[in-house]
Symmetry: none
Subunit: 186 residues, 4 copies
Amino acid sequence: MARPRSEDARRKALVAASDLLVERGVAHLTIDEVATRSGVAKTTIYRHWPERTSLIVDAVNVNLEHVGPPDTGSLRGDLEAFFGGMIRSDLSGNVAHIIPCLVEAAGRDPEMASLLERIGSERERVMKTIVAQAVERGELRVDLDIETLVGVIVGPIVFQKVVRRRPLTEEYVTACLDIALAGLVA
Amino acid sequence: MARPRSEDARRKALVAASDLLVERGVAHLTIDEVATRSGVAKTTIYRHWPERTSLIVDAVNVNLEHVGPPDTGSLRGDLEAFFGGMIRSDLSGNVAHIIPCLVEAAGRDPEMASLLERIGSERERVMKTIVAQAVERGELRVDLDIETLVGVIVGPIVFQKVVRRRPLTEEYVTACLDIALAGLVA
Amino acid sequence: MARPRSEDARRKALVAASDLLVERGVAHLTIDEVATRSGVAKTTIYRHWPERTSLIVDAVNVNLEHVGPPDTGSLRGDLEAFFGGMIRSDLSGNVAHIIPCLVEAAGRDPEMASLLERIGSERERVMKTIVAQAVERGELRVDLDIETLVGVIVGPIVFQKVVRRRPLTEEYVTACLDIALAGLVA
Amino acid sequence: MARPRSEDARRKALVAASDLLVERGVAHLTIDEVATRSGVAKTTIYRHWPERTSLIVDAVNVNLEHVGPPDTGSLRGDLEAFFGGMIRSDLSGNVAHIIPCLVEAAGRDPEMASLLERIGSERERVMKTIVAQAVERGELRVDLDIETLVGVIVGPIVFQKVVRRRPLTEEYVTACLDIALAGLVA
DNA sequence: TGTTAAGCGAGACGGTACGTCGCGTCTTAAT
DNA sequence: ATTAAGACGCGACGTACCGTCTCGCTTAACA
């Protein structure tokens, strides 16, 4: 019966939050500034998101590029296509800058944890498709544990970028894939 | 005429900080509470550490177990010994809980970045010793890039624990090592 | 062509406002709560009363007992009858609790000032009738300034109740009347 | 052992509050503006006064002129001197503007009530001295109830100024005193 | 006897102020 | 000179009401 929540206000706040997220990082995103920038009142922001973290959760999602599974005809090609996309978008872009914040926040905030989970799941789902295609093509054994498999392929890359904080070169990615694939088909 | 800085105060503050770090996480560690708990005045804390992060840096170090390189006679044995140690100490313990905070903080704070670097280096140094021993024994080729190699072995494990936030089972570690080693000797 | 304003809504809002006025005092009467309690929408309330104070004005009037001039045959009797009524209604009841609010609001809000004026006038008009009757009966001199006269009789009573905030006993009223009447006929 | 509360901060905040009180009235005095004007941080203000009303209480006291009892040699002279002072200071000045706010607030806030009580007591104490001197001089009977007596003299004046909100002329005061004194000595 | 404009409930909106928390700096007295 | 204690300026937090503004729905007066 009442007026519906303004989608416009929501969008404007989200854009402002998303921008500030990239500019200042999670810890320095303030609701007050989101309000000022977006022209949306602080109270309205709190009507849409019960607390700071909830807004951040959504703002992060805005920054995520939602990639689909490639199908190049070979496992190697699919992986390179996938990680090539990740390198260009997520890991070289804004998200790489934000993920550690999420990981950190996830340690205390269940909502953050579930966001992180969702982000991970989406990427893992793509990985599973790639692997399933490879299994179908006979490039991989059927009996491999998918969680381990994803860990072996994705782990070194995420580790390099997020934990080690070193640039994610094509050489590094290629070398890791070489080793992992060699180990998998062996 | 001057009194030296009290090592006692420093230690008490550090212990309290370390405890709170584990209890509440980095973001909710407040200097005020460290002061209250430890009985050390806030002023004194700021005298010993110029800012919050510096204290956290030291508090993290307290929680780190400093492991040396094993020498079991085989690469496989060395790795299992090493990661077994890590599983028991760092990654199953408090540090896994703290690393994301450091990673996050490293994004903004150079000092944090260098702490993270130091922690990483220490572990990487051990890894390098293990690898060198393996090369010496003829278990590995000489031409492998050490950074890639460490990434391939450590990446999946850290990824599982820190980013995926899933329990680090012996099966997972074993499976990852199997694949990586197979790929490396191939 | 249009529907007339609902008298029912007006009444319900007014009752709720009047209740809250007594329960919480003017300063803590919120439109939101009047709306919630009465079941009348905030919009509707604002349609009936342009602002908070207007509603309060009307709510006060609801609480007022409108007394007529007594005619006991003597000034003394009339005054005792009149103030007896005031003691029982206004000053011992809710209104005494509200008057200071009005007085305060009158300082800023002309509408409030005029309400206060109206309330005062009504009572003063009764007083004037009583005095006129007394003059007619020869109990009082003709040349007395009516404003002063009312002030001398009403002042001590209102002062006791409203400013001093002490209970308005029959003894106090009698004693004040004794003195004032003695002074007036002297 | 710690630093004492800054008397300077307290004073500056109080002055700003006192000014705003007169400028805007009790209801529109905001802590934020007191902070801005005084240059004292809002948190500091809250350290000194637990809540808005406490600050107002003190700010009102600043505006009060603390008058002593006159001794002109006659009751009449003393009263005129006293009320002349009140007319010049309190009732024509800022306090008359503030008292209704206090009276209103006293209805809900015990601290306000006690402030009002204190203000009243101080003035009543002076009145009692005046009366005692008159009794000593034989101008008044000994058996008069002091509360009633003060009410009879002060009531009409306060009523005129505070409740009726009409100007407090010398004629009105004189006329009231005439009647009251006539009644008292009768 | 429909039509239709206003009234209505619900509640979202932009604001302003609230009172609180933690930061990093400072002052003071005591050791 | 260093410490414990804690006050200080600052900036952000999340909340409460204000008075205004849509929303659909209901309803009485007019056509």
